[in-house]
């Protein structure tokens, strides 16, 4: 194995290791390993650190992609918007750091939520700009009818899946702001799913290629983000705090995959 290939593989080895550790924590939280060695405090602090590293790396690589594209390239604003979206998420996560690095649960709601919510318009705009760029460039993104069918399909699926999941969240007791925010995250995720579904159609045609792998990682990461938010809302509403490791795992996977996708695009533009 060459040195550069080894360096390329290292982040994926780390991500796989993190998945194994946090997956194990989610499946067997009361085992001796997780009770005595990898304690919840330690794993919470490590999760905070890993998320911060992936988010910062993703934001910087996305910005580097924007920087590598020419000023008149229609995809350039999309990478800038993705970078800002990831940057806002990073700041939100950073506000949790003083708690999580000390092994304590971060308060909810907090100032961090402002940044997490702020990230969504940037992420949605990034994908819409990218879709428009693909369409204008002459790449097939589907007829208007096909695109409308995808949007309606996602809307219908989101309603069918989200309504029963969010029902206990809406009916849960607690301060109004907490309940509003708990519902707002999954709802914003569902909005994000619309451009993601349209991009997925494009990404499927790119499969097996360099660009295809970029979008497989980024879209996969975004889907894990949606799963993480919905899980967080549902588990919080039902008081299933023992499933927190699963939520951490989905967010680590989300940020890791997005950062990986941005890095691949950067390498593609840089090579």
């Amino acid at each position: 194995m060459t040195k550069s290939r080894g360096v390329d593989l290292l982040p994926w080895v780390i991500l796989a290791l993190v998945v194994v550790v946090y997956g194990g924590w989610a499946l067997a939280p009361s085992s001796a390993l997780y009770a005595d060695v990898l304690t919840p405090e330690l794993l919470l602090a490590a999760a905070a650190l890993v998320k911060l590293v992936y988010l910062l790396a993703g934001a910087l690589w996305a910005f580097a992609c924007r920087d590598r594209l020419e000023e008149d390239n229609p995809a350039r604003p999309a990478w800038a918007l993705l970078s800002v979206g990831l940057g806002a998420t990073f700041v939100g996560q950073l506000s949790y750091a003083p708690y999580q690095l000390l092994g304590r649960a971060a308060p909810f709601p907090s100032v961090g939520d402002l940044y997490f919510i702020l990230a969504y318009p940037f992420l949605v705009a990034a994908f819409v700009v990218l879709l428009r760029a693909y369409r204008e460039s002459g790449f097939p993104v589907g007829s208007l009818g096909e695109r409308l069918a995808i949007v309606c399909g996602v809307g219908l699926l989101a309603t069918v899946v989200a309504v029963p999941i969010l029902k206990p969240v809406v009916n849960a007791e607690g301060p109004l702001l907490e309940r509003v925010l708990t519902v707002m995250y999954p709802v914003l995720d569902l909005v994000l799913l619309v451009p993601l579904a349209l991009l997925l159609r494009v990404a499927l045609r790119l499969r097996g290629s360099h660009v295809g792998s970029v979008w497989a990682f980024i879209l996969g990461g975004m889907i894990f983000m949606c799963v993480g938010d919905i899980s967080f809302a549902y588990f919080s509403a039902l008081g299933w705090t023992h499933l927190d490791p699963f939520v951490h795992l989905t967010f680590i996977l989300s940020y890791g995959l997005i950062a990986g996708g941005a890095y691949r695009q950067y390498r593609l533009l840089h090579s």
């Binding site: 020419e70 229609p74 460039s137 790449f139 499927l204 045609r205 790119l206 290629s209 660009v211 533009l269």
Partner: protein, 84 residues
């Protein structure tokens, strides 16, 4: 060269960059827009097609890499032409 052969060569060369499915469908879509029909394709039509493809590839690869990919296509088409 036949249009179908050109489409095949373009899809083969651009496949590693954007996938054969996307490369083929983009090439066919551009052919249709440029009025390139089945049968033989002229060198002017080929250049027009490559120009359109380069514009689209910019989005994914940036201008320099898109130009390099199109140069690869051009070279593959020439080799095919020379080998006939």
């Amino acid at each position: 060269m036949e249009t179908s052969e050109t489409v095949r060569v373009v899809a083969q060369v651009l496949g590693p960059y954007i996938g054969e499915t996307m490369a083929r469908s983009a090439t066919e879509a551009h052919c249709e827009k440029l009025g390139i029909t089945d049968g033989s394709i002229s060198s002017e039509q080929t250049e027009a097609l490559l120009g359109k493809l380069a514009g689209g590839l910019n989005i994914f690869l940036g201008r320099d890499k898109a130009a390099a990919a199109i140069a690869e296509v051009r070279s593959a088409l020439r080799s095919r032409e020379a080998g006939r």
